[in-house]
């Protein structure tokens, strides 16, 4: 799982390191694959990904080209459903039920349930081996806070993976982040990596 929305709020240093190490045959669960050369798009361009679970790939022609060529499997999930499936995994729920996708191709192969006269899709949790999270600030224990729309899927994936690696723009002393401002608690963060400062 990788945080970010069109590259905003993606852990760019961790992505660059995956490319440098050539970690291949990855399954990437994320909102989107950004654009070629941007964020998760770098993993696609480097042909390191065998499967993508995402809500949108339209801004990255390389994702579509690899999908059509058959070298990349793409599982498209409505964005709100993706968020809730990830949340369900992290929050210990066996499934979520949602009206989104009922009667569309998203329903194919899924169970439905009628509750009070409305039909819902039963959507299963999505978890991962690793969550690569981007945060604005972290303290040395791993408490995380986020900035604006860079938050997106980051707090959700931080709850839903075996190993959580957080990359933070600023790492500050314990206590410097107000408890009310901590969005992801340190208890779920396994590793903390400083974001490389760009000069200029």
């Amino acid at each position: 799982m990788i945080g970010g929305f069109m590259g905003c709020g993606s852990p760019h240093g961790l992505i660059d390191e995956l490319v440098r190490q050539g970690k291949k045959d990855l399954t990437v669960i994320a909102n989107d694959t950004a654009r070629p050369g941007v964020g998760i798009g770098k993993l696609i361009s480097a042909k390191l990904v065998k499967k993508v679970v995402a809500s949108h790939i339209g801004t990255n022609p390389e994702t579509q080209a690899q999908m059509i060529a058959g070298s990349l499997e793409v599982d498209l999930v409505p964005q709100g459903t993706l968020a809730e499936r990830v949340r369900a995994a992290g929050f210990g729920l066996g499934a979520i039920v949602t009206p989104t996708g009922v009667g569309t191709v998203v329903e194919d192969g899924k169970r439905t349930i009628d509750i009070d006269g409305r039909t819902f899709l039963v959507e299963l949790p999505i978890s991962a081996d690793f969550a690569l999270v981007n945060a604005k600030r972290a303290d040395y224990r791993g408490n995380l806070s986020y900035a604006f729309t860079a938050r997106n899927f980051n707090p959700l994936i931080a709850m839903a993976a075996e190993v959580v690696i957080a990359e933070a723009e600023d790492i500050v002393p314990v206590g410097a982040i107000d408890p009310d401002s901590v969005v992801t608690p340190h208890v779920v963060v396994d590793y903390l990596v400083p974001q490389e400062k760009k000069n200029g």
Binding site: F5, M6, G7, C8, G9, N31, D32, A34, R35, A54, S55, H56, I57, G58, T59, Q64, M67, V74, L76, P78, Q79, G80, T81, L82, A83, E84, R87, T98, P99, T100, G101, V102, G103, T104, V105, V106, K136, Y146, A147, F148, T149, A150, R151, N152, F153, N154, P155, L156, V183
Partner: protein, 218 residues
């Protein structure tokens, strides 16, 4: 006035004071430019903010503040940011008053198809399925035809975005309401006749006696 501007200006008249509104990328985003004066509307971007505005002139863009297309935006005083679960809680939970989306096809049942063309274009649905399923009011803002071919059809041939009927279709030729009886032609654009609209539409349109001329926001 070009077609997209005309559509955006007409859609802008649908927004009411106090509304929470989500505008899709592209043409729908233009609607914000034509908000009638005195109307206080909150715009949501589904990547995680309510209270977005176009990046003000002279303000440097922040890498942490973008719209759902990844373009830099600004945040108004009183804006609030949240994660993707909260964002779609607002959308699905009945808190979003209006969503304005583009469309590839709409049919006589008011059903929208706007997220893929099998074999040709598979961008993914992004937030569109949740938006159409969850928003209180769904407005489709699109050109009336594509390369001369009607987009308002008897039945969508492309995969549906939702089985829920949209509420209003605004094109450069007409404003069409969805009703239990079918699609109703309620307005025609200035200089466009009812017959021209019918000729450019495959779906059956109910034509009342009082089809008015489309008003647009300044």
């Amino acid at each position: 006035m070009d077609d997209k501007t005309l559509i955006a200006r007409r859609v802008a008249l649908e927004l009411k004071d106090g509304d929470l509104v989500n505008l899709g990328i592209g043409l729908p985003t233009m609607v914000a430019q034509y908000l009638p004066p005195g109307i206080d509307v909150s715009f949501q971007s589904e990547n995680g903010i309510v209270g977005m505005q176009a990046l003000p002139a002279g303000v440097s863009p922040s890498a942490d503040l973008t719209d759902a297309g990844g373009a830099p935006i600004g945040a108004l005083p009183g804006a609030f940011a949240f994660d993707s679960a909260m964002s779609f809680g607002l959308i699905r939970g009945g808190h979003l008053d209006i969503t304005v989306l583009g469309g590839l096809q709409v049919d006589e049942l008011g059903q929208l198809a706007n997220w893929m063309v099998p074999g040709k274009m598979v961008p993914g649905m992004g937030g569109a399925m949740d938006l159409v399923s969850g928003a209180k009011r769904v407005i489709v803002a699109m050109t009336h035809t594509a390369k001369g071919a009607p987009k308002i059809l008897k039945r969508c041939t492309l995969p549906l975005t939702s089985i829920r009927s949209v509420d209003l279709i605004v094109t450069e030729m007409a404003v069409i309401r969805t009703t239990p009886e079918g699609l109703v032609l309620s307005e025609v654009a200035p200089g466009v006749s009812v017959d021209q609209v019918l000729a450019a539409t495959q779906a059956h349109l109910i034509v009342p006696d009082d089809v008015s001329v489309m008003a647009v926001a300044a």
